[in-house]
Subunit: 321 residues, 2 copies
DNA sequence: ACTAAATGTGTAATCGGTTACAGATTGAGG
DNA sequence: CCTCAATCTGTAACCGATTACACATTTAGT
């Protein structure tokens, strides 16, 4: 690796001058600048970020904490983060924390060992942000006064409820996601508020997990528990799919006999037959805007909103009448 | 942040002694060790990796280059990498390179600026590995003599071909993935070898991309191009799904009229109705073993196989007769 | 022409670790 | 009791950058 010292030597100036040229800081004479630029080009020099970040006590890296990369929602979010970061000269460090507070702590410690300049967290943990590092919450707006980007899940729930009402759902099953996921509660309460206002008749089906492997079994249980219903508001697309599969297996027609609405809009939701009507969450945008907010925080720019809520959107396909 | 200097001071020894205690290197007296450990505990000290890596010219970070995180195959792979890394004290830096050689170069440069100790790449680019950093290829075993972990795609293709033959495919369409993806070629040639050996009649349908948004359109084109066929070997699960959807839309029954086999085994493949029979790729394992190989390379342990090929597996569900 | 401000440059300290080297102490063997 | 090796420990150099400070040289203003 070529160092600043070698550049200085080649250019016939001191390392300070090279550094000033690199960072456009302080005064640098015309001729010196030319010689330094020449040397940099000839030697193919680029600065060592480790040395830089040792002195600055901060590197151009941001940490991204995810509860589960294999859940299809998060890769999209990660892509948004990565795109913004990359465009602004930051690197993303990935941490898969699996709803495990210890793992989360471990990562936060790791991060600080590497002088990471900020953290983006979609993980559940309520960190007491005693470390001075900028922290932005993704998709988990807690009550406290921290920065966050999230989807308006209550609105999403309302949208789903409205869509079902508009397509004349009479006998509705509302699947409630796990209680400990705050977004799931908001969706439920949003949906119920609309249903209640319209005086519709519905029943709530509790599911205790978002785990994919349990989806099929849960769908079976739903059909076994409730005899007759004509509409299902699923807690997410994976469950919607499982319900759809079970419905078709049991010879119901979709949407004629049973209509279904999902939540998330995963890529396969439109590849189903019939296409799944669902509430799209702007996962990519959550990631992108989260990264933007974090970088602004790091670079101490003004931030208008501490808490940004993005709007979900109804995607009409064929699983509603 | 508490530094080694403060620890030394508190313990009443020199920084060298603290460092020796931390790294179990050189001689450290019993009493000194005790005092240092005490001080570390009291002060809550943990070493700054940036400083360490500046001197060592290598950090405990590995770079992971992915062509597209939003493609559902890669998150699983990433999880495998992340799990192994985390268990062995390494951090993972994510780079989404999108089949873009410039972006890949940019990342490799980024990585070297951060003294990254190794790179795991699932990206297409054939890097002239002139940098001395350990490099392991994931799922892209090139001819050259570099390290790699990949799936035996030829075998996967054969498995698919055999499965179709066993379920009495008469008139087979084989979808060829993009030519520039080496794995896609291997699958194709594997499938064809089996089909040829059996003297089966088939036609090859070329697709030029693995992009998800093009899947539906491609499936329509397939049906428009070929009048009659009873079996499809799809280039991956997304395409298999799109073909299934189009088939159902056109009132074909699956698997009675048309049977379909996919490739990858994505999570939604079993949530379809009918469940998609497919060739499962051990994505998680590719990631995990790749990380293992890389870490062994970094730590200069002996490596038995430079090129590891993992076996794909047939997952029987309901889309074959 | 004379002073003050603006500009240009190099030396050395600093960031927080690791380690070569030297000097001190202890212990074993003769 | 002496010698030599083994064991401990501290000082200082080093990793590759940034920057405070001192000093030199221009430039501007009167």
């Amino acid at each position: 690796m070529v160092t600043i010292k070698q550049v200085a030597e080649y250019a016939g100036v001191s390392v300070a001058t090279v550094s000033r040229t690199l960072n456009d800081s302080g005064y640098v004479g015309k001729e010196s600048r030319r010689k330094v630029e020449e040397a940099i080009k000839v030697l193919g020099y680029y600065p060592n970020e480790v040395a830089r970040s040792l002195y600055q006590k901060s590197s151009k890296m941001i940490g991204l904490l995810l509860p589960d990369i294999s859940n299809p929602y998060f890769p999209l979010l990660a892509k948004g983060v990565e795109d913004y970061a990359q465009q602004n000269g930051y690197m993303v460090i990935l941490g898969n924390v699996e709803d495990n507070a210890d793992k989360e702590d471990m990562y936060v410690k790791f991060f600080s060992q590497y002088n990471i300049s900020g953290v983006l967290s979609a993980a559940s943990g309520k960190r007491k942000n005693n470390d001075r590092v900028p922290y932005v919450l993704l998709d988990r707006a807690l009550e406290e006064e921290n920065y966050s980007i999230s989807t308006d899940d209550r609105l999403g729930g309302k949208l789903a409820g409205q869509a079902i009402l508009e397509s004349r759902g009479q006998n509705i099953i509302v699947m409630a996601g796990p209680r400990h996921v705050s977004g799931a509660n908001d969706r439920l309460s949003g949906a119920l508020s609309v249903l209640n206002a319209a005086g519709a008749s519905y029943r709530v089906f509790e599911t205790e997990t978002f785990q994919v492997d349990r989806a099929e079994e849960t769908a079976q249980r739903l059909f076994d528990t409730f005899k007759s219903f004509d509409s299902v508001i699923a807690s997410n697309d994976v469950y919607a799919l499982a319900v759809m599969k079970e419905a078709i297996k049991r010879k119901y027609r979709i949407p004629e006999d049973i209509q279904i609405i999902g939540y998330d809009d995963m890529l396969f939701s439109r590849l189903m037959y019939p296409g799944l009507t669902t509430i799209a969450q702007p996962a990519y945008e959550v990631g992108f805007k989260g990264a933007e907010m974090l970088v602004n925080l790091i670079e101490k720019k003004v931030i208008i909103d501490k808490k940004v809520k993005l709007k979900p959107e109804l995607i009409r396909r064929d699983s509603l009448r």
